[in-house]
């Protein structure tokens, strides 16, 4: 109580003191506190704090805690997790977006910088462009380059990049802070060039070199520059035209200070290694003189770009002199007098800097290492190549190096394209003679077969270049020999198919069918082969009804022409079954599959790849009926034979692994399933490529397993990854794309992001209804899951009606049978309507099991 009284008194005196003029306070306090020195001291302390309060508690807690972010549209970021990254602290913000210090937990535990690109860019395109360069970026390994690890998108759709965290400051600031001499600056700059050179050798161009992307930190007491943001400019680049430089609001996003003249050109962005050399030249200029060569301050954009293209940079020594007073500070930061600075710059350093800054690319240093070589010559007092006095000698030398430079820059790509072109030229000459044409066709078929993953083990990307090129040329190149042309089209279509690029395959197969029908006749075995392939390409795209029709026609003709047990006839049977399955007609599909398997076992033998294919195709039917143990047995058997007969990396072997993983998953053996699927994904990525449909299936399944294990963040990341690629590769309305979408919705729901999940699922269901029809099992499955969402939200009535709808419209039998045990439906168990639903579902399942 005493305490309380004292507090009240303290409060009263303090309030009164506040009202006093500061100069009157000491006297006032003396009077008010009397001899209570402690009280007076406390009040004085409070009065002192009053001045330091700032905005303490002024903003409501919610806002103060960080919702009002720069830009404002990503409000709840800190403490959030983006995939495997925990955002810790905002460490920078700029025109491009924000940079966060983040913590990665798997597969390695480390601190990273996460760059969140501002909203408004096409996220998918940005990430796709990054992906296209990921491999090249992964190859970079250099002490002066900060590695870029990853790219992705936030749930709100903003792209982000993850890179090595560098705790440094921009190179220009570092040099000034440490008052480094020109000599020291040049030595530091040489390391920067070496980093850029390394990247160029890996065919990566930075495109956005500037001091804020070159951070210096100290390692063992020595300054080490690290270049950040490699690969980001390309992924996020927009044409640097007037539009590109402005945001929608009309605010300018950046100045072209470090931009090369060719980047300022009006005709698209045409950059190469020399673009980086130019930017390095600007950085060098600034390191030496203290300012950038061209002043764009307060200029209209058009004028900026014009100057950039046309105005020659003044010599560094001239600029230093022209700076007047400002050069005093610059000189001091470089440990010399203004006159001394100009003197040091004049001559060699002028020449080197201006050569890097030539407007015309051909006159610049071709590579960063040439720039380095000249700097090193200067540091050693050797004559530099950039001096005009040595022009003729220099030009000869330059041209020689220049050719090499281009080759290095363009790298593998140029080699491949020119190789492809040479092949085409050769073709044109040779097709005049038929027998030689056959040979070249065989040769080319062989060449294409290299990119068939089952033969090539993963060269798909490079071979793809040849293939795309050749498929464009084939119409004109072989038009005089339609038979050969059709043969080539067939072969190329097959390769596309094995790469999982079904629409490209379809286009070539369609043309092959047309030509062969015309030239060979509609019943010729080759025509039928092309028809069969076309059916497979259609099925691959999820166009099952069309595939079914075509497969039936092909099967009928093959039976007639080749006989009912010919291997090709059996292939048509098998493919027809796949189309039926795709249409959700499980019973018919299973019947046909069993028939085919039986004939194949008898005719081709139990270990023939086709026989194994039939076994593998049969397993999903067992699944649908919940006969998981049987399916597991069948898949194990198939896997074992495939490993032995086809090898462990064969696509079919991998499919078996994936299927077996699904069986284990259904049996609730998650750990085993995860291990197997993980392995399958790894091998698939390596062998078939990261975008192959089989790789995607394995990824999808792995996500499902992670989901079932409650590892939602991982599952979400993988689902998103799969969905993005499927959307791009298979199209937004493909059966499998929609499956990924549904799965993603399920994860989001588990993450308590109900509204988002429901929206996504409803969207999916709408497309499924339209594209697959209301009776397709996948449509029914989405309906069922929507029902589950309703259960979660406590809307029993709606839930029951959705579940009923799902059961009535082709829900797969295994789900029908599982309704009773579905933990998500537990809260319906007390509802009087639930037992009727369960009974109804069981009837449906029993009916579905009987083949029609």
């Amino acid at each position: 109580m005493l305490d309380s009284e004292r507090e009240q008194r303290l409060d009263a005196i303090y309030s009164a003191a506040l009202k006093q003029d500061a100069s009157r306070r000491p006297q006032f306090l003396e009077e008010a506190c009397g001899d209570d020195a402690a009280l007076r001291q406390e009040i004085e302390s409070l009065l002192g704090d009053e001045r330091k309060l700032g905005d303490f508690l002024e903003k409501p807690a919610l806002q103060a805690a960080g919702f009002a972010m720069a830009g404002g549209n990503e409000r709840w970021l800190a403490g959030q997790t983006l995939g495997p990254y925990d955002l810790l602290e905002l460490i920078g913000a700029g025109g491009m977006g924000e940079v966060w210090l983040a913590e990665q937990k798997q597969p390695v535990h480390r601190r990273v910088a996460l760059k969140l690109i501002k909203a408004g860019m096409d996220t998918r395109e940005v990430v796709a462009r990054f992906e296209s360069e990921r491999q090249a970026l992964a190859l970079m390994e250099h002490p002066n380059i900060a590695k870029v690890f990853d790219a992705g998108a936030t749930p709100q759709g903003r792209p982000y990049f993850v890179m090595e965290y560098v705790a440094g400051i921009p190179i220009t600031e570092y040099c000034d802070q440490h008052r480094m001499t020109l000599h020291e600056r040049l030595e530091l700059f040489v390391h920067v060039c070496e980093g850029v050179q390394h990247a160029h050798q890996k065919a990566v161009i930075h495109r956005d070199l500037k001091p804020s992307n070159i951070l210096v930190s100290e390692v063992d007491g020595k300054p080490v520059p690290r270049i950040i943001d490699f690969g980001l400019a390309k992924a996020t680049s927009q044409p640097l035209s007037a539009e590109g430089m402005f945001t929608q609001a009309g605010a300018i996003v950046g100045t072209p200070t470090y931009m090369s003249p060719e980047q300022a050109g009006s005709t698209g962005v045409d950059v190469d290694t020399r673009t980086d050399v130019y930017s390095l030249g600007v950085v060098l200029y600034e390191l030496l003189v203290g300012v950038a060569p061209l002043d764009f301050h307060k200029l209209a954009l058009d004028e900026m770009l014009r100057r950039l293209r046309e105005e020659e940079a003044p010599r560094p020594s001239t600029k230093a002199r022209a700076l007047g007073e400002a050069s005093g500070a610059a000189a001091e930061n470089r440990g010399c007098s203004p006159a001394g600075l100009a003197r040091q710059l004049r001559g060699d350093l002028d020449a080197i800097t201006l050569k890097a800054l030539e407007k015309e690319r051909a006159r610049r240093y071709a590579t960063p290492s040439e720039l380095v070589a000249d700097i090193v010559r200067y540091l050693r007092n050797e004559p530099v190549l950039a001096r005009p006095a040595r022009a003729s000698y220099r030009t000869r030398k330059y041209l020689r190096r220049h050719r090499i430079g281009v080759a290095v820059a363009a790298g593998l790509l140029v080699v491949l394209i020119s190789f492809g072109a040479a092949q085409t030229l050769q073709l044109r000459r040779i097709t005049r003679e038929r027998d030689r044409a056959d040979r070249i066709a065989a040769f080319m078929t062989g060449m294409f077969k290299v990119s068939d993953p089952s033969a090539a083990r993963g060269n798909s990307i490079t071979a793809r270049e040849i293939l795309d090129k050749a498929s464009k040329e084939i119409d004109t190149a072989l038009s005089k020999d339609p038979e050969l042309q059709a043969q080539m089209m067939q072969a190329m279509g097959d390769v596309y198919h094995s790469l999982g690029l079904f629409s490209q395959a379809q286009s070539l197969h369609t043309r092959a069918v047309d030509i062969r029908r015309r030239v060979l006749g509609p019943q010729h075995p080759d025509t039928l082969t092309s028809m069969n392939s076309l059916g497979a390409s259609l099925a691959g795209q999820g166009r099952y009804a069309e595939a079914e029709k075509l497969n039936r026609a092909t099967l009928e003709m093959r039976r007639r022409v080749l006989g009912p047990e010919h291997p090709d006839t059996l292939k048509s049977m098998s493919n027809l079954a796949i189309a039926l399955r795709g249409e959700g007609r499980f019973a018919e599909a299973e019947k046909l599959n069993r028939e085919t398997l039986e004939i194949r076992r008898r005719v081709l033998g139990p270990e023939h790849p086709d026989t194994l294919q039939s076994m593998s195709n049969l397993a999903p039917a067992l699944h649908q009926e919940g006969r998981y143990a049987e399916a597991e047995k069948l898949n194990r058997e198939t896997l074992e034979i495939r490993r032995r007969v086809l090898g462990p990396d064969h696509p079919d072997t991998l499919k078996s692994m994936g299927n077996l993983a699904v069986d284990l998953y259904e049996e609730g053996r998650y750990a085993e399933a995860e291990k197997l699927d993980h392995e399958a994904v790894e091998i698939q990525r390596r062998v078939s490529g990261p975008e192959h449909p089989n790789t995607l299936s394995a990824m999808n399944n792995l996500a499902l397993i992670l989901y079932s294990e409650g590892r939602y963040a991982e599952a979400e990341k993988l689902d998103r990854e799969t969905l993005d690629i499927r959307r791009r590769v298979l199209g937004p309305e493909h059966l499998e794309t929609l499956l990924s979408k549904m799965n993603l919705a399920l994860v989001l729901d588990k993450e308590d992001r109900h509204a988002e999940a429901e929206k996504l699922l409803r969207e999916t269901l709408d497309i499924q209804r339209r594209v697959l029809g209301p009776d397709h099992p996948r449509t029914a499955l989405s309906t069922y899951n929507l029902g589950v969402f309703s259960v979660h939200q406590g809307n029993r009535g709606e839930a029951l009606s959705l579940l009923q709808d799902a059961v009535d419209h082709g829900l797969p039998p295994n789900v029908d049978l599982g309704i009773e045990k579905d933990p998500d439906l537990q809260s319906l168990h007390g509802d009087p309507r639930f037992p009727a639903l369960v009974a109804h579902a069981k009837e449906r399942a029993a009916a579905a099991r009987k083949p029609k």
Partner: protein, 194 residues
């Protein structure tokens, strides 16, 4: 479930307004849950470009939870007081949970209260503030409440005055004194800790 709480919460609010103290204990968790859910939803769904306002959140909770036809306008003030208390708990709980998460809990899951550790290092430590506020409330309960209403509940001076049934001048004076007291107490905490 939610349909049922609608009437229940109104009932509790009326009971508390008419002096039944125990109603408050039942009320707070219900309001807590609704605010929590709303904030969660805001955070997830809306690509809003403006800042999430505490008052907007509380208003929406009010409209959702309270049957407006049955309450007087004074009851709204009581609701705001409850909501501010609930917000305080949400935010402080979150700040606390972030601490323990750092030691390796279940951080896979993104949870609402990503009420940003962003400025936490630089701005107010909510856990400490909560403790200091508890101490302040012993001697100056009204001052502590002003802080709770304004800082945690996001109420304006006018609303705060209405809730506490005092003049706006009083609110401002309390506010000023309480801020400096809390600042002082928290600073001292740091000095001792350091």
């Amino acid at each position: 479930m939610r349909g049922e709480s609608h009437g229940e919460i109104t009932e509790l609010l009326l009971a508390w307004s008419s002096g039944e103290v125990s109603a408050l204990d039942k009320l707070i968790p219900l309001v807590y849950a609704e605010l929590h859910r709303l904030a969660h939803r805001y955070m997830r769904d809306q690509p809003v470009t403006h800042t999430l306002q505490t008052s907007a959140l509380i208003n929406e909770a009010y409209l959702r939870l309270i049957d407006c036809s049955r309450v007087r306008w004074q009851d709204r003030a009581h609701f705001l007081a409850v909501a501010a208390r609930a917000m305080r708990r949400i935010l402080v709980d979150y700040a606390r949970s972030r601490k323990s998460l750092r030691r390796g809990g279940d951080y896979q899951r993104i949870s609402l209260e990503a009420v940003a550790t962003l400025h936490q290092a630089r701005s107010t430590n909510l856990v400490e503030l909560d403790e200091a506020l508890g101490t302040l409330a012993i001697t100056f309960p009204r001052k502590a409440q002003v802080i709770e209403l304004r800082f945690f509940g996001g109420l304006s001076v006018q609303e705060t005055a209405a809730v506490l049934d005092v003049s706006e001048d009083t609110v401002l004076r309390d506010w000023k004194l309480a801020r400096v007291r809390l600042y002082h107490a928290m600073k001292r905490g740091h000095e001792h800790a350091g």
